[in-house]
């Protein structure tokens, strides 16, 4: 009995020792990848840019930069090419000998060229299949050179990919671009009734760069960086290929219809006054897509309800008076519906891509009819009649009622 007990204990210990440790990795051996850029390379190859973090530089600070200390970059970009994405990643180890760790990746940037020409289905498979990759990093389109896009560190956020991640995280503040993460993107590619879209970023000149002498390294001041990252509207996809692009107001038009506007500001001209504008801040919005069949013709009624409050009035108007406020609300309605119509026009007229989810609404409302429509939805979508109803109301006028001008009269 005693011998058997010792034997069993021995077996358990051997079991843990012999089967353990195989996937053990020490943290300092890992290259934490925080962002990936994917673009096409000559010869049908794929080029990957992996942004690996230099952890000690981040924690101990890269600033300072006094005499004698070398300026350590908080990240490192490594580039490799390959026939497929994994092949390219394998080739990365030839550049730097560390084990790359992708679980903390926060952005996947795909070049516009790759997305337009080759489509991104081939890379989607990799992003979905690999257990180390998550579905929550943003999938975004990068315009121009990805190498320069991924090399724009901020002063506070030292890592470019985290900076881009922050841009995407705060998209609800303005609601003028619509990023999707990998998981959401995959879901909308797979859905037969709507098309994917995502945000676009590019680099642009930094306008706050000062020309004056004394703002450069020679005088001991780290100057403003030359370039900055600009988030520039929304890319529209058809299946896995990018087909076009919506600018900021059009992007919000898309989000109004999808009911995804949560914050942001609406700027519109005050009726009856020249070059005078009012601005409201969005409190909440909702949208309702109601399909209906009239004379065998399917149409959609989109009802968008928006609640806002006034934050700026340039004109000589007293919003404290109900009639005056009503005027502002009507102008606001018109502005919202203008944004929606612009988005609709582009999606229906130019790109033929149902990014709004109208197909899904019809599927829900008329499942039987949708079965026939599904196969030819691409052809039917451009001709779909969409009626837009905007019901917006200004809930309050913030701290004051009358502007100073109006009060003096």
């Amino acid at each position: 009995m005693m011998i058997r007990r010792i034997f069993v204990t021995f077996l358990i210990i051997m079991l843990t020792i012999s089967s353990g440790c195989w996937d053990r990795r020490e943290l300092d051996d890992l290259g934490i990848v925080n962002g990936i850029g994917i673009e096409s390379a000559p010869g049908g190859k794929i080029r990957i840019i992996a942004q690996t973090l230099n952890t000690s530089a981040i924690v101990r600070g890269t600033g300072g930069g006094g005499a004698g200390t070398t300026f350590q970059k908080a990240y490192r970009n490594t580039v490799a090419e390959g026939n497929s994405l994994q092949d390219a990643i394998d080739n990365l180890t030839k550049v730097t000998p560390i084990q790359r760790f992708f679980s903390h990746n926060s952005v996947v940037i795909v070049s516009e060229e790759l997305a337009r020409k080759q489509g991104i289905r081939s890379i989607m498979d990799f992003l979905e299949r690999n257990p180390e990759l998550r579905l929550d990093p943003w999938l975004i389109i990068g315009r121009g050179s990805l190498v320069s896009l991924m090399d724009q560190p901020g002063r506070i956020t030292l890592i470019p990919s985290q900076r881009i991640d922050n841009y995407m995280k705060i998209h609800k503040i303005s609601s003028t671009y619509a990023p999707l993460n990998v998981g959401q993107f995959i879901r909308s590619i797979q859905s037969p009734c709507c098309q994917p879209y995502t945000a676009v970023i590019e680099t642009g000149p930094n306008e706050s760069l000062s020309d004056e002498p004394g703002h450069d390294l020679a005088s001991g001041v780290v100057p403003e960086p030359l370039n900055q990252i600009i988030v520039n509207g929304t890319a529209v996809f058809k299946e896995d290929k990018m087909v076009g692009w919506l600018n900021a107001p059009e992007s919000r038009g898309l989000l109004w219809v999808r009911g995804e506007v949560e914050q942001g500001y609406i700027n519109f001209s005050i009726p009856g006054e020249q070059d005078r504008f009012a601005e409201t801040s969005i409190l909440r919005s909702s949208s309702k897509l109601e399909p209906s069949i009239k004379d065998g013709q399917i149409m959609i009624t989109a009802t968008i309800k928006v609640d806002t409050y006034l934050i700026e009035v340039q004109g000589n108007i007293d919003p404290g008076i109900t009639e005056e406020l009503k005027k502002l609300e009507d102008a606001q309605d018109a502005e919202i519906s203008k944004e929606i119509k612009a988005a609709l026009k582009k999606a229906q007229g130019e790109y033929h891509a149902d990014i709004f989810g109208f197909g899904a609404a019809i599927h829900r409302g008329y499942p039987a009819e949708w079965k026939q429509l599904e196969a030819q939805w691409d052809e039917a979508f451009p001709g779909l009649q969409v009626e837009i109803k905007v019901e917006s109301s200004i809930r309050h006028t913030s701290l004051i009622n009358k502007p100073a001008e109006a009060a003096r009269q």
Binding site: I17, E26, L27, I32, L53, T55, R60, S103
Partner: protein, 546 residues
Amino acid sequence: MIFRGMKRLKNISEKDGKINSGNISELLNHEILTPEQVKDIRVSSVLEENLRFLQDLLGHNKDVIIRRILIGTSPRIPSALIYIEGLADKAILNNNIMKSLMIEIPEESCGSDPLYLREYLLKTALTISNLKNTRQMNEIAINILSGDVVLLVEGVDDAVIINIRGHKEKAISEPESEILVRGPREGFTETLETNISLIRRKLKSPNLSFDHMLIGKITLTEVSVVYLKGLASPDLVEEVKQRLQRIKIDGILESGYLEEFIEDNPYSPFPQMHHTERPDRIVAGLLEGRVAIMTDGTPFVLIVPVEITSFLTSPEDYYERYYLGTLILWVRYISFGVSLLLPSFYIAITTFHQEMIPTRLLISIASYRQGLPFSTLLEALLMELTFEVLREAGTRLPRAVGQAVSIVGALVIGQAAVQAGIVSPLMVIIVAFTGIASFTNPSYNLGITMRFLRFPLMFLAGMLGLFGVMFGIVMIHIHLAQIRSFGLPYLASLSPLHWSDLKDVLVRGPWWSMDTRPWELGERNRRRQIPGLKPSPPRADKAGGN
């Protein structure tokens, strides 16, 4: 030789009361003699015979005092007082015994009738409260060795045992191992009688019972089983006594000796009984139907049976407001988990499951691990070991030096090791926090178990990651679910689950809500108090009615 000695001893006892062998001293050279062996020897009416026997038995030691006196004035009767120097109260001996016997005894009482003399001595002569008589030599020997004074009188075949034990003892002071902010400040001492009086003072019940027994063949340590009749299950009391009587050991120096002889699962790392220095804690246990075991010579009293949750309670929980009691109870539960699992979780997550760490935390952990020579497991083992060494050094050293150790420890381990790039600061934080969390454990013995179990868990974490940690946790749970303390399941109240007990396990319910005793223990007397004692302001209609 030993056998010969035994035979000789037999010869002594066979003569039935007649002592004529002075060979006991020779016997003592060869064998450990217990009073049991001289059980049958009776007191002789010849004083010198008795004295010779006792002198042989107790040895010609300096501290054994045989004071020969003559009682009365005429006739003067030879007699002797036997006691051990330092164990008997000399002032009482001089004033109340010797003075009474030698000077104050009236003439007529010292007649020739020994029977009358015996009665007179027992009932009139000695102004001592605690007196008894015996004819058994073994009892006399034990009582002398325990500090009583024995009076032997020529012609009387009976001995008077005078209890004036007055050895030097520590004053009642605050228990150092269990310090409370609010609560009684008295603790048990090393003297059983004092400890019994401390319990009596808190529990004035005729149901309170002390069952004495002597354990330890040589030390003859007095052990007392304490319980409340009618509350504690008689089976439990019987079981405790039986287990105690089974012990045949040379000596008992501390209640820890007993603990290992009477516990249910001798291989378990978990303590299966409480030890405490606090009378209030013992009384609380007795009121729940538990049994206490008091040992002479140590302030630590055992209490059985116990369940694991009671190790994590402190008497103060019950003295402070119940909100605070509950909060602190949960702080302890969490620290209990932390002190057991934090290092192994850290090892598992940083070496196997890096994807679980939030990115920013990962960056800072990774940055501090840059360039360290050891793997996380080794680093953790090293630091834990250092911590244990420091803790042990701090505990054993005199208090003044102990402070120096903690300063050196904190400086060397906390700072220098990090600066030298041997360990990461995060590991220092983990180890320090684990250590501090383990100090919240009010029971020292469960704390030792946690310290011990941490190491296998760390190995499992280092080899199998979280899977290994879970494996370890499951194994510990299986073990906890199967062990018992005097028949009480170790996880009692939680498993088997008794809803009514959770008022004292998951929360510290207010006293007016704790109407019932613990389910498993309070079988014989469920109710602690009448229900509905919640205080409320007098209502207006009621007041008006009165």
